[in-house]
């Protein structure tokens, strides 16, 4: 095989087959359940399935503790898990630029296989398209996920006055890491991406707290500010945050300041916002803190019945509104 991807790798003939069965399916190994037919058959129990889809256009595609493949699996697995579903199956579609290095493709597929294996999900169907130079920037992925809902679904309409708001890890780290790599700012060794599969801590949380967990959201594009505004609007409740309780690394705060961006709106790739009943909050924190990927979980605010605004209380007792972000943030962080 050539060392660069060529258009014929996407043409559907012999070179496509070599790439798909000889490289991609070989590396995916036992995480791949497909039979290279037009569609793949899987068995499911009767009931409710959760379905989600996401495209990944991150730049750069490799960063110090992850890559586009890891993000593509973790992001979709997390989107299933936060609905209360057990992730089962992913599809994998790749759009690759002519001239892309086969070695880099293999490295991405290996990362997909490793992350899927760790998350306990199978890749069940795939598609690979190759376009000419300049028609896509290196490689874009899509993963679509299917999970089974074995408990009552979680909904952003569920929060009610008195509920506690938990954030499971440091805000903004993924975005600051990627921006630092991209712009050469030198923060990337001190602030790593938080990209992680979170289905295990979520399952443990739901097992421990049952219906004490009202809803969970993965903090991605739009950041915590957007998640909380969506919770507030859907539930018809207001949310008060305590500024000093927000888990933010000093290095992340400093970098955000330098870049002129607000940590409240930065994407993570392995960070949860959870609303729990007041009596469930201590157990929720204990469960989350037992997992390395959610070890820095903290209660950051409270749901109240007075309006549907999200506000932040600073150390001096001043209250400022946390709006839904309308304007400019940065593209291609995930």
């Amino acid at each position: 095989m050539s060392h660069k991807i060529v258009l014929d790798h996407g043409a559907g003939g012999g070179m496509s087959r070599e790439l798909i069965s000889g490289t991609i399916a070989r590396i995916l190994g036992d995480t791949y359940l497909g039979e290279l037919e037009d569609s793949t058959l899987v068995d499911v129990p009767a009931g409710r399935l959760a379905i989600t889809t996401d495209s990944f256009v991150i730049d750069p595609i490799f960063f110090s503790n992850g890559d586009i493949g890891k993000i593509a699996v973790a992001g979709t697995v997390n989107d299933l898990a936060v609905s209360g579903a057990r992730p089962l199956y992913l599809t994998l579609a790749m759009i690759v630029e002519e001239g892309f290095l086969v070695d880099d493709l293999e490295r991405i597929v290996q990362s997909i296989a490793d992350t899927a294996r760790a998350a306990g999900v199978h890749i069940v169907a795939g598609d690979t398209k190759v376009v000419r130079r300049g028609e896509v920037d290196q490689i874009f992925l899509n993963t679509t996920g299917v999970g089974v809902l074995e408990r009552k679904p979680l909904s952003s309409r569920a929060p009610r006055p008195g509920d506690q708001v938990i954030v499971s890890g440091y805000l903004g780290d993924h975005s600051i890491h990627i921006l630092s790599v991209r712009e050469g700012l030198g923060f990337e060794s001190r602030v790593k991406s938080d990209c992680a599969v979170l289905s295990a801590p979520i399952a443990a949380l739901l097992d421990a707290c049952g219906e004490g967990v009202r809803c969970i959201r993965d903090i991605t594009r739009g950041g915590l500010g957007t998640v909380l505004n969506e919770f507030a609007e859907a539930s018809g409740s207001g949310i008060d945050l305590i500024a000093s309780a927000l888990p933010i690394r000093p290095e992340t705060a400093m970098a955000a300041d330098m870049l002129g961006v607000d940590v409240m709106y930065l994407a993570n790739e392995g960070n949860l916002c959870i609303v729990t009943a007041p009596e469930a909050a201590p157990a929720a924190l204990e469960v989350l803190r037992a997992f390395p990927e959610t070890a820095h979980a903290a209660i950051v605010g409270t749901v109240h019945g007075d309006g549907t605004e999200v506000s932040m209380l600073d150390d001096d007792g001043h209250k400022t509104r946390v709006d839904l972000l309308y304007g400019a943030q940065l593209p291609r962080l995930c």
Copy 2:
């Protein structure tokens, strides 16, 4: 809303929400089942599901009797239907270039809605990313499909000696149409794209012929030559085609000749290759010919037990091998 897509339409905040709930979800209307949460819940019966994924990078995105949206729905619905499944749900992911016209996006989403409604499938989850100018060519789509298998699955391992090979429509038309639009060849008014949803004729065929239908494949990238080589290899049988029986429009043959491409390897987007038991072939033809989208169905060859080659018999009785395509065909036809 601005008349062009800007980066903030993909940033996850207020402009993303306006685009998604104000434009995309509004146009999808009752074909959209999602709740704009991270994942969508759907009910399924116990049993086997078929899952498939496909990215669509067609250039041009609009052509005389279709567009990228129609292709994205029809292609994935057809991939489910050819496995014997009843298509139920699609996800829709879009990667859009900054500066893309909102009017064009609305036109594509309307086409997705119309095609999904006609096919009886629902869009259950979506994702919209915006990348900078030059990082993607206009718009790429991904649709992932889920269907339920209510009968014995069809498999390309099933063909056996004596079986008949049927093609449901004119070969190569979609590719010739797209190439003609792209290169300004002037064929596009005489050779239209065959892009069509084929789940209805497939369901009727399976109802009428039961297990007399061995397998079905959508003739897309790689063309009939590739489909037949895959059938031959999977089933361990050879296939003899009759050149004069292949449904090919004279205009398509002429255009292919002019372009130096072989109709046997050109993609359709609404054409089936079907293998049936010999006794089922007449009923299969009758069923298919009753649908406008498969009205030109014809028996084009026979499965035999002598090797696993695909061969073509011409009018003079000469036999030539139809190889798996290895080299160059044309990108971005679907």
